[in-house]
C-alpha cells in the first residue's frame, strides 16, 4: 500500500493572532502540524502497519516546514517531501497549493492519499478535493472511519453529526475529520530516528512548473479580527418581566426576531 499524506504547517491553536497593517504577524509564533492532518498521518501509519507499504508525508510550504515534516517522520511516516515555494511564490491560494501538490503526485501511483478535512488557519477545506480533481481520482471528505479490503474501501463520513456510509475503490483521496483516530505522540526513539529518514527538498523548477502556472486565482481584499465580544447582560426583576424584556431585546437590540 503506497500512502501519501498531505500536511500543512499552521499556527499553534493557542497562539494569539496579531494583525499589523492588515497582515498576520508570524514573528515569534509557535507552529504545529495542522491538527486534522495529524489524524491523516495517524491513519496512514495504522494502515501501513496493518497492510504493509510506505507512508510519504508531503508539504507545500517553506523551509520552516521541515520541523513539522520531521514530526510526521517521528510519528512513523517513512519519508517526507518538502516543496519549498518561498522563493517562487509570493502569494498563493488553495489553487496554488493544489496545483503544486498534484503536479508532484502525478504519476507517483499512490493507492491512497490522506489529507486533513480543513486547516485550522485558512479553513477552506479545498486543497484535498482540488488535488483529487486534478489527479482525476475520487475523493471523500470528513471521514471518521476507513476500512480497506483489497482495492475496496468502506468509509464512514461525518455529515453534520450524522454518519454516511460510502463504498469506494482505490486509488482514492480522503480527508480526515476529528474522531477518525487518536493521533500518537511521537516517541523519543521515533524523534531520534526521524533524523535519519529521507526528507527530499524540491522547488517549483524541479516540478517543471512556472510561477504563472501556480498564480493564485483569488485575491485577499481584507483581513480583520472578529469584533470584540461585548459584555453580557443579566436581566433582573420578576420572571415575567424578564421574559418580556428578553423578547423585546431580541427584537430591538439583537435583531434576531
Amino acid at each position: 500500500m503506497n500512502i501519501c499524506v498531505l500536511i500543512k504547517r499552521t499556527f499553534d491553536t493557542e497562539e494569539k493572532i496579531i494583525l499589523t497593517d492588515g497582515i498576520i504577524q508570524e514573528e515569534g509564533a509557535e507552529f504545529i502540524i495542522n491538527p486534522y492532518d495529524e489524524y491523516a498521518i495517524e491513519e496512514a501509519i495504522q494502515i501501513r502497519d496493518e497492510q504493509g507499504g510506505e507512508v510519504t508525508a508531503v508539504m507545500a510550504g517553506n523551509e520552516d516546514g521541515e520541523k513539522e515534516l520531521r514530526t510526521a517522520l517521528a510519528m512513523g511516516a517513512d519519508k517526507a517531501v518538502l516543496i519549498n515555494l518561498e522563493e517562487d511564490v509570493e502569494d498563493g491560494d488553495q489553487w496554488t497549493t493544489a496545483k503544486v501538490l498534484s503536479t508532484y503526485l502525478e504519476g507517483k501511483n499512490y493507492d491512497l492519499i490522506l489529507a486533513g478535512n480543513v486547516a485550522i488557519d485558512g479553513g477552506s477545506g479545498q486543497v484535498g478535493p482540488r488535488v483529487a480533481e486534478l489527479l482525476g481520482i475520487p475523493y471523500v471528505t470528513a471521514i471518521t472511519k476507513l476500512e480497506i479490503d483489497g482495492r475496496k474501501v468502506k468509509i464512514e463520513r461525518d455529515v453534520e453529526g450524522d454518519v454516511e456510509v460510502i463504498e469506494a475503490s482505490l486509488p482514492l483521496l480522503v480527508t480526515a475529520q476529528q474522531g477518525l483516530n487518536e493521533p500518537r505522540y511521537p516517541s523519543l526513539p521515533g524523534i531520534m530516528k526521524a533524523k535519519r529518514k529521507p526528507l527530499e527538498q524540491l522547488e517549483l523548477d524541479d516540478l517543471d512548473l512556472e510561477e504563472d502556472d501556480v498564480e493564485p486565482k483569488t485575491k485577499v481584499l481584507e483581513i480583520f479580527l472578529p469584533p470584540k465580544k461585548e459584555a453580557g447582560k443579566i436581566l433582573k426583576g420578576e420572571l415575567e418581566d424578564q421574559a418580556k424584556e428578553l423578547v423585546s431585546l431580541l427584537r430591538s437590540e439583537a435583531n434576531i426576531i
Binding site: 504545529i32 514530526t71 517521528a74 505522540y185 511521537p186 531520534m192
Partner: protein
C-alpha cells in the same frame, strides 16, 4: 556559539509539553492532595521513551543528549513537581549510575529494562545520619563466601516503593588512612530481609514516591557490586553532579509554571480600575521572575552541554542547581504574592509550586552544600 535548541531537542520539548499538559497537569492537584504516585503515567512515559532519553539505543534508550533530558524534566516539572522529581530521580539516580559504572552484564540486566521504561530504579544513599556527609554512612556490607550481606537503614529514597532494584551504598572496610571505604550494590527490592516503607507525609512533591529502607541481612551476589568497590564515594559524587542538572531543570519547570499563572492572573485581575499588571509594583516582580527563569534555564543548558561535550561540569551543575532552586523559590513566593489572598488558597494552584520547589533547595545537596562544592572548585 548557538543558543538555539536543535530540531530534535525542539521536537522533544513539544512532544513532552503536549504529553505533560494532557496527561499530567490535569491530575497534578489531585495527586498532590492524595500524595499519589502514578505508576500509570510512568508506564506511558516509558512507552514514549522518556525514561531512556540519555542512554544509547543499544541499552534500550533513545540516544538523546543531556540537554534533551533537561528539557524533558523541565516540561514534566512544569506540569507537576512531584512527577518531575520521580522522573528525574528515575533517570539520573536510578538508571544513570548503572550506565556510568556498570559492567556490560549489569547494563543488560538492570539498565535496559529501565531505559525501555519497563522498570524503575532507585538510589539509596541518604541515611538518618549521612547524606552529603558520606563519612557518616552506617550501612555495612560484609563479604560472606560469594555473597555480600548488607545491614542498615536508608531514608528519603525516591521511587523505591516501585523500583525493581535499589543501588545501595554501604561501608565495606577502612582504607589505610582509617577512612571508611564505601561501595555501591545493586539490591533487588524483592530480596529477603529488604523492607521498604513509603509513609512519609511530605510538604511538597507529594506525587513522588519517597521511602524508608531497612536492610536486615540482605544477601546479594558478589557480582552485584557496582563499579569500583573502593570508589563508591567518587561514583556517587559523579552521579549527584548529573542529578543536579536535572534538579535545576525541575526547578526551572516549577518556576515557569508559577510565573505563567502569575502573569495571566496579573493581566486578568482588576483593581483600582485596571489590570494589576499595569502597576509597576507588579511589573517589576514579573520582570524579575522572567529574568531569573531565563538565567536559570541558560545555566541548566550550559551545564548539560558541558556534560554532553565530556568536559568538567561539577561547578556549573552546582551553579545551575543552586541558582535555579533559590531563584525558583523566590519566583514561586512572588507568584503567590501577586495572587494575594487567592494565591494562599489551594484552588488557584500556586501554593503547590512553592511547596514543591522548596525541596529543590534541599534534595541532592542543600544550597549550603552547593556553595561548598563551588568553593572547593574555586580552589578554596
Amino acid at each position: 556559539m548557538n543558543f538555539e535548541l536543535t530540531k530534535e531537542q525542539q521536537m522533544i520539548k513539544e512532544m513532552v509539553r503536549e504529553f505533560a499538559e494532557k496527561e499530567i497537569a490535569p491530575n497534578a492537584a489531585k495527586w498532590d492532595e492524595e500524595a499519589y504516585f502514578s505508576i500509570e503515567i510512568f508506564k506511558k512515559m516509558g512507552e514514549l521513551g522518556l525514561l531512556g532519553i540519555p542512554f544509547p539505543e543499544e541499552y534500550g534508550g533513545a540516544g538523546g543528549d543531556t540537554i534533551s533530558y533537561a528539557v524533558a524534566v523541565e516540561e514534566i516539572g512544569r506540569a507537576c513537581g512531584g512527577t518531575g522529581l520521580s522522573y528525574a530521580a528515575a533517570v539520573s539516580l536510578g538508571a544513570s549510575p548503572i550506565y556510568y559504572f556498570g559492567t556490560e552484564e549489569q547494563k543488560q540486566k538492570w539498565l535496559v529494562p529501565m531505559a525501555k521504561g519497563e522498570a524503575l530504579g532507585a538510589f539509596g544513599l541518604t541515611e538518618p545520619n549521612a547524606g552529603s556527609d558520606a563519612g557518616g554512612t552506617r550501612t555495612r556490607a560484609v563479604l560472606d563466601g560469594d555473597e555480600y550481606v548488607i545491614n542498615g537503614e536508608k531514608c528519603w529514597i525516591t521511587n523505591a516503593g516501585h523500583a525493581r532494584q535499589v543501588i545501595v551504598t554501604a561501608v565495606t572496610g577502612k582504607d589505610d588512612k582509617d577512612k571508611n571505604i564505601i561501595s555501591a550494590f545493586i539490591v533487588p527490592t524483592n530480596a529477603p530481609g529488604f523492607t521498604i516503607q513509603c509513609n512519609y507525609d511530605k510538604m511538597g512533591v507529594r506525587a513522588s514516591n519517597t521511602c524508608e529502607l531497612v536492610l536486615e541481612n540482605v544477601r546479594v551476589p558478589k557480582e552485584n557490586i557496582l563499579g569500583d568497590p573502593a570508589k563508591g564515594f567518587k561514583q556517587f559524587l559523579y552521579t549527584l553532579d548529573g542529578g543536579r542538572i536535572s534538579i535545576a531543570a525541575l526547578a526551572v519547570g516549577i518556576a515557569q509554571a508559577a510565573f505563567e499563572k502569575a502573569l495571566q492572573y496579573a493581566k486578568e485581575r482588576k483593581q483600582f480600575g485596571q489590570s494589576i499588571s499595569k502597576f509597576q509594583a507588579i511589573q517589576f516582580k514579573l520582570a524579575d521572575m522572567a529574568m531569573e527563569i531565563e538565567l536559570a534555564r541558560s545555566m541548566v543548558y550550559k551545564a548539560a552541554w558541558l556534560k554532553d561535550q565530556g568536559k568538567p561540569f561539577t561547578k556549573e551543575a552546582s551553579f545551575a542547581k543552586l541558582f535555579a532552586s533559590e531563584a525558583g523559590f523566590r519566583i514561586c513566593n512572588q507568584a503567590i504574592q501577586i495572587h494575594g489572598g487567592y494565591g494562599y488558597m489551594k484552588e488557584y494552584g500556586v501554593e503547590r509550586h512553592l511547596r514543591d520547589i522548596k525541596l529543590m533547595e534541599i534534595g541532592e545537596g542543600t544550597s549550603e552544600i552547593q556553595r561548598l562544592v563551588i568553593a572547593r572548585q574555586l580552589g578554596c
